[in-house]
């Protein structure tokens, strides 16, 4: 192939390489979620065998409740969401005299690491450090009482 025939082809190659480099800059991933805020959500669910009513607001947790607990009725008593910066603490008052303190620590490997304390009156019933998948939820249940059990759903998700 002659030099004159090679030139347009090589120039085209150079243009494609440049375009690829520009595209790579354009599609640079968004800023790390840990730079923003985190939304912490706490729900209080009263589970009992008093009826067979399932609160429709708990649809997302229906399968988990059925698999994990022996109750027929689940009623959402309270749900609260609060946005905080990483490292800040956030408190939630729970019916029945409980208080939940959550401190989101960091976002790493698509997980939200946080410290969670559940206080019942003067008694800290759970004091834990947990790493939860972003948008995930874990549950704190018990102690069992005569009328059923209070289940706390605690979740977190990053806010860009």
């Amino acid at each position: 192939m002659s030099g004159a025939g090679l030139r347009p082809l090589a120039m085209f190659g150079g243009v494609v390489v440049l375009a690829t480099a520009v595209a790579a800059q354009v599609v640079e991933p968004a800023a790390s979620p840990s730079a923003g805020r985190v939304e912490v959500r706490v729900g209080a669910v009263l589970a009992s065998n008093a009826s067979k009513e399932f609160d429709t607001r708990l649809a997302a947790l229906h399968r988990q409740f059925n698999a994990l607990f022996p109750y027929s009725s689940y009623r959402l008593v309270k749900e609260e969401r609060q946005q905080v910066r990483w490292g800040e603490r956030v408190g939630f008052d729970i019916p029945g005299g409980r208080y939940v303190v959550v401190i989101p620590k960091e976002y790493k490997n698509e997980r939200v690491a946080m410290k969670v304390m559940v206080l019942e009156g003067a008694r800290p019933i759970v004091d834990t450090a947990v790493s939860l998948r972003n948008h995930g939820t874990f549950l704190v249940a018990g102690p069992r009482e005569q009328e059923g059990v209070l289940i706390l759903s605690i979740g977190a998700e990053t806010v860009p």
Partner: protein
Amino acid sequence: MTCRDAAALLPLFFDGELDANQMRAVALHSTRCLDCETALRQLERLQDLVSVHVATAVDEVDLSSFWSDVERRLGPTSVSWRERLRAWWGERDTAWAIPAWPALAAVGAAIAIGLALAARVQTPTTHPDAGQVATRDNAAVLDSLDTDAPSVAVLSDPETRTMVLWVSDDDSVGDVP
């Protein structure tokens, strides 16, 4: 814990820097002590004010003429990019002419890299079930657990991998469902 003890630890508590026992003690104290709760609220308000102040100060910095000022200080560029490219091309033509097949390979490689980059970036954002998958998989990692209750059992639903901390007043864990 007394107010004097708590007051010394409040800033560390606020930053989440205390160990589990101290964290619990301060949290417990602040839920029952109006003065300490007020002090915590003041710390929160102070942090908010500082954040707002810093954000406002940063917003007020005028960066619109930054690059033009930099360019002016650098002085006029001696050679434009177009001229540099032309010079490079001329040099290439005489010094190291590229055969046809490496040029074709470069084009192919560039297109492949471009497609791979585009696919990598688009996949997570356009997947219709992305949110649902995240919701379904609640896998949690327990780094530490402390309690004043007689027992706490850790349960998990194998399907959704949802973790439950089951607090029981029965230390034989016979209360677990």
